[in-house]
């Protein structure tokens, strides 16, 4: 009986020890060894390996009575000036900007215009011709 108790104590202690060891093992689901190694990776044919994206920006000019020129600045949300040039407000402009892939908005400034342009499908647009709701008094 005494021997049987000793065996039981040893068995329980061993199980407890194994349990502790198991807790210190890395999670099998997150070990780097289980991840696909780069050399074996199947990468989509269309992937360009870039952390940036090209955004086509389209700006519609306003036919003005007299030439209205000002500095047109397009920036990232953090203020980085990507496009910055003297611009005639009546001119239509199409340009391509390269921005971080995670960026979803651009900022546009021209005189007192201070606009946020949303990027959708790698495109952003702005028009100096206002959107008018009739009857609202513009």
């Amino acid at each position: 009986m005494k021997t049987k108790n000793i065996v039981l104590i040893i068995l329980i202690s061993t199980l407890g020890l194994l349990s502790c060891i198991k807790q210190n093992l890395p999670d099998p689901g997150t070990t780097p060894e289980d991840k696909t190694k780069l050399a074996d990776a199947k990468v989509p044919d269309s992937f360009n390996w870039s952390t940036s994206k090209n955004v086509e920006v389209s700006i519609t000019g306003l036919p003005t009575v007299v030439p209205i020129k000002n500095t047109l600045t397009i920036t990232l949300p953090d203020g980085s000036k990507l496009y910055n040039a003297y611009h005639d407000m009546s001119v239509n402009l199409k340009l391509t900007l390269v921005v971080p892939a995670t960026v979803t908005q651009l900022k546009l400034k021209f005189g007192t215009y201070d606009e946020t342009l949303n990027i959708a499908n790698n495109k952003a647009a702005f028009s100096f011709i206002p959107v008018v709701t009739y009857g609202d008094g513009m």
């Binding site: 000002n70 990507l82 513009m138």
Partner: protein, 497 residues
């Protein structure tokens, strides 16, 4: 350039003195009142221009008020001009009553509004003065030709005014149609400045390049005015290359590691003057003597006037500094990294092994000039939109073998690339399909990180240092687009230099 400054001054003085008498017209023929509103006309209780044959007074479009039934104030339904310097003579326009039921009264009032600099809360509009009044015969729908003399108090004044034409009336629901407004005077509103008046004085433009000093980043340089940056002011993107092409390498992406920043300088006409490229040479864990260049995709070499600051070594440059024999402008930044940064004598290269001494990165600036002191290049000028960063095709030249170029995946090789190497060993480039610099499972020989990049140590694949790199690639860039950041769980620091 000084003459240009004087010429501009004369024009503005002429405008202010009425020498160049003008008139403001409003005839709705743009077909879109938003264009007039953008040009600082204001409409209250108006509809979009009408093109209905029964309503048009002249041309293809006329103006139409909303229904008038209880409008007793001149502020209820009106057309207001932009700010203007009023001339002399008559304001003229046409108007008639539109269809509607039983109007009791319909009238026209014409007023002027002086500029009041101390009243920003009213858009600088001062106290309105009505100087003309007319009441329609409500049973008569005929067009009335209005001829309204400009009051002497405002005629040819140097002060600024708006003219307001109001329609009012009682009873019924009839509208008023109008057209062919002519207001003698000179337009003086600025659509880019919340429709406030244009400046009365000529803005200071010291260098006479047409850009006011307040907006000119080079106020004393007639040839330059603005800077645009890629990836941003004082920010560096990173290029990291493998140099075993066309065979696979060890994917440590440290055979050549270079930071890049571009400043595209434009002039007052919006044309590109120069491209100031700054490269930060950081590491080369290589035996090969690797070089670096960039191609301006689609830009002819004769658009370049000169190149300064580069070290092309024995590669052949044309007289303008661009590389000879190229279809598009190619600028060789350096032919041999190790000529610019000396190996410490320990380890395989520079700054990829911890046991070797650290060598301070070197900055190399290359200026590609397009318009040289106001002189255009033989091939003509480029706008900022035409020379955008998407065209900056940066690449490595392996071991000074000119034909062995390594570009970012699917970027075009230069004309001097050895096409015979395409499709050999592990490379699956196929010019016929536009596929370049990828293995059969689409792995690259170069990566471009648009911001700072901590590259792996020697002989350690990038995915062992940056733990989400492979997930980013396999997902086509959808997962972990920020894999290069130093976030918890994102990297094994022991494998990054």
């Amino acid at each position: 350039m000084r003459m240009k400054h004087i010429y501009l001054t004369i024009i503005l003085l002429g405008l202010s003195s009425g020498v160049f008498a003008q008139q403001l017209t409003l005839n709705a023929e743009s077909g879109n009142s938003a264009i007039e509103i953008g040009n600082c006309w204001r409409f209250l209780d108006y509809e979009q221009y009408t093109s209905s044959g029964s309503e048009v007074i002249s041309g293809s479009y006329s103006l139409k008020t909303q229904m008038i039934s209880n409008s007793s104030s001149i502020n209820d339904t009106y057309i207001k001009t932009p700010w203007m310097k009023v001339g002399s003579g008559n304001i003229t326009f046409k108007a008639r009553l539109g269809s509607g039921t039983d109007p009791i009264s319909r009238g026209v009032r014409v007023s002027y509004i002086p500029y009041n600099a101390s009243s920003p809360g009213t858009s600088f509009e001062g106290t309105l003065v009505t100087f003309y009044s007319y009441d329609f015969v409500v049973t008569n729908n005929s067009v009335v030709n209005f001829i309204v003399p400009i009051p002497a108090a405002i005629a040819n004044s140097t002060s600024l005014y708006k003219i307001m034409v109001s329609y009012l009336g009682q009873g019924g629901n009839g509208r008023v149609l109008s057209d062919d407004y002519i207001f003698p005077g000179t337009y003086w509103s600025n659509p880019a400045n919340s429709c406030n008046p244009l400046p009365l004085n000529v803005p200071t433009d010291t260098d006479g390049d047409g850009v006011p000093d307040t907006q000119d980043e080079y106020p004393n340089d007639p040839y330059r005015s603005h800077n645009s940056y890629y990836p941003g002011l004082s920010q560096f993107g990173s290029l990291a290359f493998e140099d075993n092409w066309p065979a696979k390498g060890d994917y440590d992406f440290n055979d050549l590691v270079v930071g890049y920043n571009f400043n595209t300088v434009t002039n007052g006409s919006g044309n590109v003057v120069e491209l100031i490229s700054t490269f930060m040479l950081r590491a080369s864990g290589a035996i090969y003597n690797n070089g670096m260049a960039y191609q301006l995709d689609g830009i002819a070499p004769n658009k370049v006037s000169k190149v300064a600051g580069n070290t092309p070594g024995s590669f052949t440059m044309a007289s303008n500094g661009a590389e000879s024999g190229q279809t598009y402008a190619n600028i060789v930044v350096f032919d041999n990294f190790f000529n610019l940064m000396s190996k410490p004598g320990v380890g395989i290269g520079i700054n990829t092994e911890r046991l070797a001494p650290y060598i301070m990165p070197q900055s190399k600036q290359v200026v590609t000039t397009f318009i040289n002191n106001g002189v255009n290049p033989a091939g003509g000028t480029l706008t900022l939109a035409e020379l955008n960063p998407a065209l900056f095709n940066m690449y490595m030249i392996i071991n000074r073998e000119r034909g062995k170029e390594v570009h970012l995946p699917n970027r075009y090789p230069s004309s001097l690339a050895s096409t015979g190497l395409f499709g050999t060993k592990d490379d699956t480039s196929n010019p016929a399909t536009g596929r370049y610099y990828k293995t059969s499972n689409n792995l690259p020989w170069a990566v471009d990180i648009i911001q700072g990049f901590d590259y792996p140590i020697e002989k350690v694949s990038i995915d062992l240092g940056h733990l989400h790199f492979t997930e980013w690639a396999v997902s086509g860039g959808v997962q972990f687009p920020d894999w290069f950041l130093n976030l918890p769980g994102y990297r094994d620091a022991s494998k990054i230099y």
